[in-house]
């Protein structure tokens, strides 16, 4: 955990150089992300849009897991954002960008309410408690046809409004445009999530995870901080849900079932939750494998089987996630160079 629990970037020249390298890397990353859709086919651009949304979903999930609690309700919370934003836009005519923000707010509010029963529980009990809470929310969507649309859910959800000025015209039906919209929203969200984790708040989350009694003893209100993590994570999950709803144009209770939650868990664990980028790596790699590679191989019936095998093999042979591959590789490189500080210490 040293990387994430770490303090502020160290001062001094070494720090400045590292910071410069870090910024350069970011610039390259964004250049690559900007170029990406032009390398993809149209339908692959569609996949890229969903992938970007899922990156936010899984990254927000990681923030929740920082306090040591694993939820099975995160996708339902995403659904709360999706339903709220869709309903606000459809029924009350709230402009879509604003409704998305409010959708995130609704998800955060639901999380805040749920935290009262849920954070009486810890560990495994929290896991199943969040599952129960999620099922109840889904049942509400199914039962109350007005306004939630029942088992069929909502459709014809207002799309993100086109931008139409004299010289600039952006049509968000085009996946490439929505990709950039999602990229901007998700990058901003990831930046905030990253800042939170690197701030004292993140340090406190980690502290609660590893020794909640010790944290309590020095004045950390663990209930408040667990709630805070849950609410923040839920807010961004809600934003992801809103991005999804106004892109696909339809939501239904099945879309947010525990089956879908399982995928989020899988992305996070296969990617590795020790670092910020681990879960992102997980969702990107697994999506590319499942949606592009396996489909392109023309495998239909056996696709789930291969995917399942990949899951098993990856947790068996990469227990710290795909991200540990990078760490291992770096350590190997350092070893070759004979570098003295191979600080790629494995998380506990």
């Amino acid at each position: 955990m040293p990387e994430t629990a770490g303090a502020m970037p160290a001062a001094g020249t070494g720090g400045a150089i590292r910071q410069l390298a870090w910024r350069l890397r970011l610039v390259f990353l964004f250049a690559a992300l900007a170029a990406l859709p032009y390398l993809l086919s149209y339908s692959q651009q569609e996949i890229a849009v969903l992938l970007v949304i899922n990156v936010l979903l899984v990254s927000s999930y990681r923030l929740l897991t920082l306090t040591g609690e694993w939820s099975l309700g995160h996708v339902v919370i995403m659904g709360v954002g999706a339903y709220a934003s869709a309903l606000l836009a459809k029924q009350l005519g709230v402009p879509v960008p604003l409704s998305m923000l409010l959708g995130g707010g609704a998800a955060a509010a639901v999380a805040a309410i749920l935290s009262f029963p849920l954070f009486r529980m810890k560990g495994f009990y929290f896991l199943i408690g969040s599952f129960a809470a999620g099922e109840i929310i889904r049942l509400i969507w199914k039962r109350f046809t007005d306004p939630f649309g029942g088992p069929k859910g909502l459709k014809r959800i207002d799309p993100f409004p086109d931008i139409e000025t004299g010289f600039l015209s952006i049509d968000f039906y085009e996946p490439v445009n929505y990709y950039f919209l999602a990229l901007v929203v998700v990058s901003a969200s990831l930046f905030i999530l990253y800042r939170i984790e690197r701030s004292r708040i993140g340090l406190t989350f980690h502290a609660i995870h590893w020794q909640d009694r010790l944290a309590e003893s020095v004045g950390v209100d663990t209930f408040r901080y667990r709630t805070l993590a849950f609410v923040i994570a839920s807010f961004f999950a809600g934003i992801a849900g809103a991005l999804y709803a106004h892109y696909v144009g339809a939501v239904n209770p099945t879309r947010f079932s525990v089956d879908q939650m399982v995928y989020v868990l899988v992305w996070a664990v296969v990617g590795g939750t020790a670092t910020f980028h681990g879960p992102i790596l997980g969702v990107v790699v697994l999506t590319v494998v499942n949606e592009i590679v396996l489909r392109a191989l023309g495998l239909d019936t056996v696709r789930p089987l291969i995917y399942g095998a990949i899951l098993i093999l990856s947790v068996l042979y990469l227990p710290n996630g795909l991200e540990s591959l990078g760490t291992r590789l770096r350590a190997r490189l350092q070893h070759w160079r004979g570098g003295p500080d191979a600080t790629g210490s494995e998380p506990a």
Partner: protein, 265 residues
């Protein structure tokens, strides 16, 4: 050698804690004077640790009250007590093993480094964080650990980990520090060093209450000693008085005879 005031800073009246049918603490009362080093001793299973857990808010008392600076604090949350200045340590090396030494202290500075959510996001908490870091380093220097600030805790030897545990608590700027078995498992050299530290902490104006097995250390260190047995008060007084009290001798001998070896509290 006393800076002892007369006003009790921490007081328990009729404290009782049951677990199911078992009574771990039974109508137990004591009071700790401000500025004192106060020892709480007793044979294995006497209820010392349970008492500690009740005082520090991990358990609510089944009956009775705890007062801190005249305020009824019974049943308040640990974190709220810490905010009031009542901070405890843990047995052994209970630390954030995954963090660096400095980060442990930084968590300990939780209360001292307040900032709003937005300022954390925007980085405008830098001022208060810098202060917190300075204070954290001062705390480390106090324990002679400043060289190790960036080491991962898991690399530290046991003795240093014990000191760090105390440093984390001290970083929270307590008025009363509750030490849970600070000397257990230490060699005489380490114990001596630790005792000196406890005295220096008290000189800094912090009242200390400790639970301990090491009789020698307790007798040498404490101004007042409370002895409990079977969850209840046996004797309270100065070390010499307690040492020679027949009831205390009886309790320890009895328990030692009945106990055999290797009992865990």
């Amino acid at each position: 050698m006393t800076m002892q005031g007369e006003r009790p800073i921490l007081e328990a009246r009729g404290l009782t804690r049951r677990f199911g049918g078992l009574i771990a603490v039974d109508n137990f009362s004591f009071s700790v004077s401000e500025g004192a080093i106060h020892g709480l001793i007793g044979p294995n299973g006497a209820g010392k640790t349970t008492t500690f857990n009740v005082i520090s808010g991990f358990y609510a008392p089944s009956a009775g009250r705890v007062f801190f600076r005249g305020l009824d604090i019974s049943g308040r949350k640990t974190s709220a007590l810490a905010a009031m200045g009542l901070v405890r340590t843990f047995q052994g090396s209970t630390l954030f093993q995954e963090f660096s030494v400095l980060d442990n202290i930084r968590v300990g500075r939780h209360l001292g480094a307040r900032a709003g959510f937005l300022s954390r996001l925007l980085g405008t908490d830098r001022q208060s964080e810098r202060e917190a870091d300075e204070r954290a380093r001062e705390t480390l220097a106090f324990f002679g650990l400043e060289e190790l600030a960036d080491e991962p805790v898991s690399n530290l030897p046991h003795g240093h980990q014990r000191m760090l545990g105390m440093a984390v608590a001290l970083a929270a700027e307590p008025k009363v520090l509750l030490l849970d078995e600070p000397f257990t498992g230490m060699n005489p050299e380490e114990t001596r060093c630790m005792m000196a530290l406890v005295r220096r902490i008290r000189e800094g104006g912090v009242t200390v209450m400790l639970v301990e097995h090491d009789m020698q250390a307790v007798m040498n260190l404490c101004d007042t000693i409370t002895v409990m047995n079977f969850g209840a008060l046996l004797v309270e007084g100065a070390p010499e008085a307690v040492r020679n009290d027949p009831a205390v001798i009886e309790a320890y001998l009895g328990s030692a005879a009945a106990d055999g070896a290797g009992h865990v509290a």
